[in-house]
Amino acid sequence: MSTDTEYDVEKGDQVHPGKPVTVDRYTGAARINHWITATSLVLLALSGLSMFHPRLFFLSALFGGGQWTRFIHPWIGVVLFFSFLGLFLRFWRANLWRREDGAWLARARDVVTAHDERLPEVGRYNAGQKLVFWSMSILIIVLITTGIIIWDQYFAAYTTIEQKRWALLVHSIAAILAISVWIVHVYAAIWVKGTIRGMVRGSVTGGWAWRYHRKWLRELVARPPAGPTEDQKKTAAE
């Protein structure tokens, strides 16, 4: 086992041999974190869209009307920010860009046509997922920053109106992009069967791991069954 792939394994990732093989992919905490983030993001999208386009204003009814929507949206934003921060801290290392990611991405046609067998083996996340991860990270930083600038109830005094105008524009564009990325993310999860269970039940099948994240699976299999302790990691590294 080479040390350069060790980052790819998260705490709690575990292979359970059997028929079929199952692989623990997300711990309970990670799943809760994800779903808080997901819920926040959906609520933000709904409330944000209601204030973005008149045709979507009806969505504000979901939040108890315009005043509540205006009030709650930034607070959900705060929740999202911290929740996503949790995800970020969990997964940032697994999302660092690897050599094979370029190759994977170069074969985008095979990706979309589900010719996974033609793709290079990837670790815990493929390049597409990594792009989702990093673009979300950047967009959420942009959204929280611009969001605070336009959160007039508390922060009106700290910026000029011109800055607020830019913030609004950037916030809107970032939100559109974030929603689009989210659509990609959700679609991928729906399209690639067996994925959602990973985030619902925490585990995926061995076949799923083999097909989509073979490198990761190999790493997991290569590890001692109980999972590496800190000491063992150290030894392994040596």
């Binding site: 386009h53 315009g66 109830q153 524009l169 809107s172 076949g207 083999w210």
Partner: protein
């Protein structure tokens, strides 16, 4: 004397304009009335204004607002800025005219300009929170306001203010409630020097001409009317002694227009944004239709079993 608006009768009256006279309604599509009411306007003659603040007092009284009692911070503006409880404000500028070396104390009554193309309304996301009547009055409808503050960003004149109490936006209504029953704005009524007059927009423009001629006779060669075309003209206009440099009047914008940033946000972004999101969703849908789901095969499972089997053996 410009003929003042006569005192009203005290009997019940019907409103001279209402829902049916809307030409714009925020975040809504409406059919404007076939016939527009005569456009009204308020003319503020800065050269006649003595900065007495009677307009502010009248505004407070008529609208029954309760501005905070502030401190003196070394200036004459009180309150120090427009607030949700102070819809109009005298702004004082001590300007030394570089041409004459004379000090000029420029006093401008700040407040909503009632733009023909109102930026606040354009920016507003809440249906019906901002309306424009066919007579030109731009009014805020508080029960529809969500307090987002977008109007502040939309306004080229920095006028609306959000109340910390009811979280809705406030600004000068041009006394739409008074005008609706045949009166003029409270500030115009209180103005002792007729620096504020009210009438139809045409009358106001004509009245301004006379004022400008008078100012020119006093050496203010650049005297003129401030009715900025960038916002389609306004229903509150100024007579300025130095119309070529409105910015000396406490930052009155020279050629104001709705900020291009706001235009971009409320224009191309709004449509492009929906398109991008739509395309993403539709692409996914079509992809699924064409390619079907990406499933794990038996061979994959077996491969995984083999791999784990290797290890467990």
């Amino acid at each position: 004397m410009f003929p003042p608006v006569p005192n009203p009768t005290t009997g019940p009256q019907t409103s001279k304009f209402g829902e049916k006279d809307l030409i714009r309604r925020s975040a809504s599509t409406i059919t404007p009335p076939a016939e527009r009411q005569t456009e009204v306007a308020k003319l503020i003659d800065v050269s006649k204004c003595i900065g007495c603040k009677a307009c502010q007092a009248a505004c407070i009284e008529w609208n029954d607002t309760h501005p905070e009692l502030e401190s003196n911070t070394g200036i004459y503006e009180n309150p120090h800025d427009l607030t949700p409880d102070m819809f109009t404000l005298m702004r004082f500028t001590e300007w030394e005219n570089p041409e004459t070396n004379n000090l000029e104390w420029l006093i401008r009554k700040d407040g909503c300009m009632h733009c023909e193309d109102p930026g606040c309304l354009k920016a507003c996301p809440a249906p019906g929170a901002i309306v424009q009547y066919s007579n030109g009055i731009v009014d805020f409808v508080h029960e529809n306001c969500i307090g987002c503050g977008y109007c502040i960003k939309g306004c080229p004149f920095n006028i609306p203010r959000i109340s910390k109490v009811d979280h809705t936006a406030y600004k000068c209504t041009l006394c739409s409630d008074r005008i609706a029953v045949g009166q003029g704005p409270a500030c115009a009524k209180a103005c002792p020097t007729q620096a504020i007059v009210y009438g139809t927009k045409d009358e106001m423009k004509k009245h301004a001409e006379g004022r400008i001629a008078d100012l020119k006779s006093r050496g203010f060669e650049k005297a003129g009317l401030y009715d900025p075309p960038g916002v389609g003209g306004t229903h509150v206009m100024y007579v300025l002694h130095h119309a070529d440099q409105p910015e000396i009047y406490a930052g009155l914008p020279n050629n104001p227009r709705i900020s291009p940033v706001v235009e971009a946000w409320k224009g191309v972004t709004k449509y492009a944004g929906l398109a991008v999101m739509g395309v993403a969703a539709v692409t996914g849908f079509l992809h699924y239709m064409v390619n079907g789901p990406n499933r794990v095969s038996e061979e994959d499972e077996e491969a995984a079993e083999r791999l784990t089997g290797d290890r467990s053996s």
